[in-house]
């Protein structure tokens, strides 16, 4: 093992890590928002919409993320949609995460007793207010641990977007090992960076969730 290259590589690794963090931040926000819409639509929407959402979830959950990424980045241009690698990565990650979180959010919505909706309606709230102010916060509280796990898993899966030349952590590792010829050491260090990132992300989400949603999140 030789780590003489490490001090000179700190900048590259940090830049790659920042991109990874940016990717997961965007994916978390967009994916969660999309999955709330998807879960609500899958429960209250017209039949066609329900069926479309169900198929969307099945297709994404039963195919590899890498193939989805290639499909979006290499396949869409033949339909005239050409995306920048970072945008393609964000889109693929968001679409992938939403399929998993639609089921999670849906389970949370089902867990809120129907009496809550009835009570809120009886108090004169409009249906949309009931959903946003009464049902959704309770659902999020129930599903927060599962949501946290999914976000961490997505961050780890984001390693493969290096394959479409997004300059995130894994891409920087590839560049470094090509320059230093110390492949094992490079990947070892970067793996540790991922480990720290995933533990920090989990910690952040758990404390953040506890503060925003109240106790009960572990």
């Amino acid at each position: 093992m030789a780590f003489a290259w490490l001090p000179g590589a700190v900048g590259d690794i940090a830049r790659g890590a920042l991109t990874t963090i940016l990717l997961i931040a965007v994916t978390t926000l967009a994916g969660t928002f999309l999955s709330i819409l998807g879960a609500a639509g899958g429960r209250n929407g017209p039949v066609l919409l329900k069926r479309a959402i169900a198929w969307y979830v099945e297709i994404i959950r039963n195919t590899p993320f890498l193939v989805q990424l290639f499909f979006i980045f290499f396949g869409l241009p033949s339909l005239g949609i050409r995306l920048d690698p970072v945008l393609a990565a964000m889109l693929a990650m968001t679409l992938n995460m939403a399929a998993y979180t639609i089921e999670i959010v849906g389970a949370g919505l089902d867990a809120v007793p129907g009496g809550q909706t009835e009570a809120a309606l009886a108090l004169g709230l409009r249906p949309r207010q009931v959903f946003i102010k009464i049902v959704l916060p309770q659902a999020l509280k129930v599903i927060f641990p599962a949501l946290t796990s999914q976000i961490v898993i997505m961050m780890l899966e984001s390693a493969v977007v290096s394959q479409i030349a997004v300059r995130e952590l894994t891409y920087e590792a590839d560049m470094l090992q090509a320059r230093t010829f110390r492949s094992f050491e490079t990947y070892f260090v970067v793996t540790l960076v991922y480990l720290v990132l995933s533990m920090a992300l989990r910690r952040l989400l758990v404390t953040g969730g506890r503060r925003a949603l109240g106790a009960g999140v572990s």
């Binding site: 993320f65 396949g75 869409l76």
Partner: protein, 215 residues
């Protein structure tokens, strides 16, 4: 340039899919065996053994599979072992699967009432007999759904071994795509083949999940 008809593409992809299936099976069997060992450590009475197993699980669940594969592929040659992508792929996926399977099965062990252990002890069984006859069969049977669910995840994860050069479905599709320039069709077909492999398992896992009464 070689001309590919639609059926040439399909045939080549299906031939490559054999390797995806074989790799998934090898990793599932290997992961099951190593996972069982990790599980023994994880639920042992010794505190350090439990800590080591938790650390192992946290390590594999807290880092990207792609990095684990890279480390396997570049690490073993450092120990003087010449390694082919197939070996690195099987070993990498085996360790990855073992951590997840051990954790899934442990949740099954944790779900059993403590009385099950006491009952075993009162029948005069020693620790290993208790595990083999009472605890593990029940733990496996209540975690059958997540185990099948993980198999789906494992099949999808084999796609990553294309990046370290293992010639499975995705790597073959990259080669075909480079020759045909029809990414929409090629990756669409790859997605379809994966879907056909995974969807029945997903449905099966869902059926199993419904059978277990909610706790």
């Amino acid at each position: 340039m070689i001309e590919f008809t639609f059926w040439d593409i399909v045939r080549n992809l299906l031939l490559a899919a054999r390797w995806t299936v074989l790799l998934s099976l090898a990793a599932f069997v290997g992961g099951g065996i190593v996972g069982l060992i990790v599980l023994f450590f994880r639920i042992a009475k010794n505190k350090w053994s439990r800590r080591i197993a938790s650390g192992y699980i946290a390590l594999f669940q807290g880092t990207p599979l792609l990095m684990q594969l890279f480390l396997m592929f570049f690490g073993l040659p450092m120990l003087g072992l010449r390694i082919e992508p197939w070996t690195a792929a099987v070993l990498g996926l085996t360790f990855f699967a073992s951590a997840y399977l051990a954790e899934i099965w442990r949740s099954g062990v944790a779900a059993l009432p403590l009385g099950q252990w006491d009952a075993g002890a009162s029948l005069g069984l020693h620790y290993l007999q208790e595990l083999r006859l009472i605890i593990l069969p029940q733990a496996f049977s209540i975690t059958r759904a997540p185990t099948v669910g993980f198999l789906v995840q494992l099949i999808k994860s084999t796609a990553l071994t294309s990046i370290i050069g293992f010639e499975e479905l995705v790597r073959t599709s990259n080669a075909i795509n480079n020759a045909t320039f029809e990414p929409f069709k090629v990756y669409g077909l790859v997605a379809l083949i994966f879907f056909v492999m995974c969807f029945p398992l997903t449905q099966y896992a869902r059926r199993l999940e419904k059978r277990v009464p909610a706790r």
